[in-house]
């Protein structure tokens, strides 16, 4: 559609994917890439089978198990599969293993080097591309927006719809710009930045919007950092997050297994360079954040919006203007076992989880290892694990000797998967215990029934492991 009006990045990607526009504004949107995992797909494949329907574009679909695979060894010394103890997990894995080939879909198996968390695998394989529409039956699909892809989570009926038609019926969201200007201070990471944004916007602040993150602080982030930021767009309620593709994005994508090659590559680069929001384009809402104000952040409650600087204290429920928030805060504090006024940096932790699609890429592991090198977890920390985002991340970390750093610091070094991010596999935080976690959700019971989650960056998680309590990583390394 030719248009001379200045358009946002979101508008440009949207316009390029409209198959059909209906009178009520609903659009049939073409989906370029579909990631499928074992938990939200069995019922979709089942429905296709019952209706005698095929997958329209198996070549635009990639299946990989991640959510409930155990992160312990998957093959024994003889290369034989080690049986998954949980019968239901085993059944979900078996269903995906059978469904993918039955419908002609490329499947990355549980013991393949490329296996990992869908949102780590997609970008890593060059399957996720800037400007593409990407969906997956997991809400953190927003992650791929770090590459400048319009990516969002869908439910199982939509998984079925995409498998059968390669499209979705959607209404366009409003566009919000979150502009972060200035420089992040030493020891302040992409995770602290996105936790801070979530605190500012609130868990529902982005509802109805697609958020484009802009500004010098965003531009200065590595692609991995951008994936971390966009990953949590859903935690402030947005349908998707976006960061305009630039030269760093292009360099990141180049040469990856499924990235375009030859003439296709040149055409792709030209298109990606044209996607940035035009000067003068209007957003429905703009929020400006000063990067210099951000310090290493941590959550105290059971909503990702419950963010405070590590230098801060647990807030009193009375300090919130909104009555329902006061009630929620009181409940959160009871669940979390915290008192108003308690300094965050004295809160003792018993578990540390470094992993999840938010923070399990190589830079995350390097950041954590840099803090842990030559140090050991505190005696009070009973369980500390590192779960790389993919087999390739794991191999890279091992080549750099990071696994040794973690093991010497008292961490367990695991196989890739979602793990304690959502506690579907055996990796759970025991009831009543606290976990410094690099994941994205601190909901009640998210890491196991009764588990108390504090969301932090990988460096902060490592620092907490060493100190035995939440602590300001800048005291250790800066």
């Amino acid at each position: 559609m030719a248009t001379t009006n200045p358009r946002t990045l979101y508008q440009k990607i949207w316009d390029a994917h409209v198959v059909e526009r209906r009178d009520d504004g609903t659009c049939l949107i073409y989906i370029d890439r579909h990631l499928v995992h074992e938990v939200t797909s069995p019922q979709a494949f089942e429905a296709l089978r019952l209706a005698g329907r095929k997958v329209r574009r198996p070549d635009l679909t990639l299946a990989v198990p991640d959510h409930n695979l155990p992160t312990t060894a998957r093959r024994d010394a003889a290369g034989q599969r080690i049986a998954i103890k949980d019968a239901q997990s085993a059944q979900q894995l078996a269903a995906l293993e059978a469904n993918a080939p039955a419908f002609g879909i490329r499947y990355i198996g549980d013991a393949d080097r490329e296996q990992g968390i869908v949102h780590v695998v997609g970008p890593e394989q060059g399957f996720s591309l800037p400007g593409a529409t990407i969906v997956c039956g997991d809400s953190h699909t927003a992650c791929h927006g770090g590459l400048g892809a319009l990516a969002f989570g869908i439910g199982t009926s939509e998984v079925e719809h995409v498998l059968a038609t390669q499209t979705l019926l959607l209404k366009q969201s409003k566009a919000m710009e979150v502009r972060v200007e200035g420089d992040l201070g030493p020891g302040v990471t992409a995770k602290d930045l996105v936790l801070h944004i979530t605190g500012v916007l609130g868990a529902a602040g982005g509802t109805g919007y697609v958020i484009e993150y802009t500004g010098s602080a965003i531009r200065a982030l590595s692609i991995e950092g951008r994936l971390t930021v966009s990953n949590m767009a859903i935690e402030h309620g947005a349908r998707a997050g976006l960061i305009a593709p630039d030269e760093a994005t292009i360099a990141y994508v180049k040469g990856r297994p499924y990235a375009p090659k030859g003439a296709d590559w040149d055409a792709a680069v030209a298109w990606w360079r044209s996607l940035a929001t035009d000067p003068g384009a209007r957003y429905d809402k703009v929020v400006v954040i000063d990067a210099a104000q951000i310090v290493p952040s941590v959550t105290w409650g059971t909503s990702p919006e419950d963010v405070v600087p590590i230098t801060g204290v647990v807030p009193a429920p009375d300090s919130f203007a909104d009555a329902s928030k006061r009630e929620a805060a009181a409940k959160s504090l009871a669940y979390m076992g915290l008192e108003p006024g308690q300094p965050l940096n004295a809160v003792e932790i018993q578990n540390v989880f470094i992993g999840s699609c938010t923070n399990s890429r190589i830079e995350d592991l390097r950041a954590a290892a840099a803090v842990l090198r030559g140090r050991h977890k505190a005696p009070g920390v009973k369980w500390a694990i590192v779960v790389p985002g993919s087999g390739l991340v794991k191999a890279m970390a091992e080549a750099e000797g990071l696994d040794q750093v973690f093991v010497e610091a008292g961490f367990e070094w695991r196989e890739p998967g979602c793990s304690a991010c959502l506690g579907m596999n055996p990796d759970k935080v025991p009831a009543g215990e606290r976990c410094a976690s690099t994941s994205n959700r601190n909901f009640v019971g998210r890491q196991g029934p009764g588990a108390r989650t504090h969301l932090v960056s990988p460096a902060m998680a490592a620092a907490a492991a060493v100190a035995g309590h939440l602590t300001d990583v800048r005291d250790l390394v800066c």
Partner: protein, 198 residues
Amino acid sequence: MEPVTTIDGRAYPFGQKNVDTDVIIPSHWLKTITREGLGRGAFESLRTDPDNLFDSAEFSGSPILVAGDNFGCGSSREHAAWALLDLGVRAVIAPSFSDIFSGNAFKNGILTVVLPQDAVDRLAEVARTQPIHIDLEQQTVTTPFQDRFAFDIDPFRKNCLLNGLDEVGLTLAQSDVIGVFEDRVRAERPFLATGVAA
């Protein structure tokens, strides 16, 4: 999908805000490969309280749930909708819903009704003792006390719900239009058209 025309009966006066999908159906219930049987896991963490609404003799099996702001926030798991359906819930009334949840609910024939907070508060009050009546055709929620609240609904969704239409089938009927679009992408943005081989 079964058509939805009117929904009549008792309603859980639930009202909590920001109820996330982990509360609606905890993740350990997500290991199923079918859609049935999830009602037992619905609101599991709340149902450890012996006085909870969902197991009370009075409300158990109610077809309507009166909820708070931002209902269904959190994950995209459609199991949340399946769990409600299995619990017997056919409509949820709240001041707002998470986008993904309301989409999932719709696709499973659950009506999500958005009403202003004061209307929802009133319905929650009535629900304690009386049934509630929802008329999709008329787009109204009424009570035995002559309360009458009109709600908006997307006409496409309304039509699908009233007639029990399956969205996948509707879109498949447009395969040709999708094919034309694919040809255009192959010509204009070939790098998006090339995928991965099995």
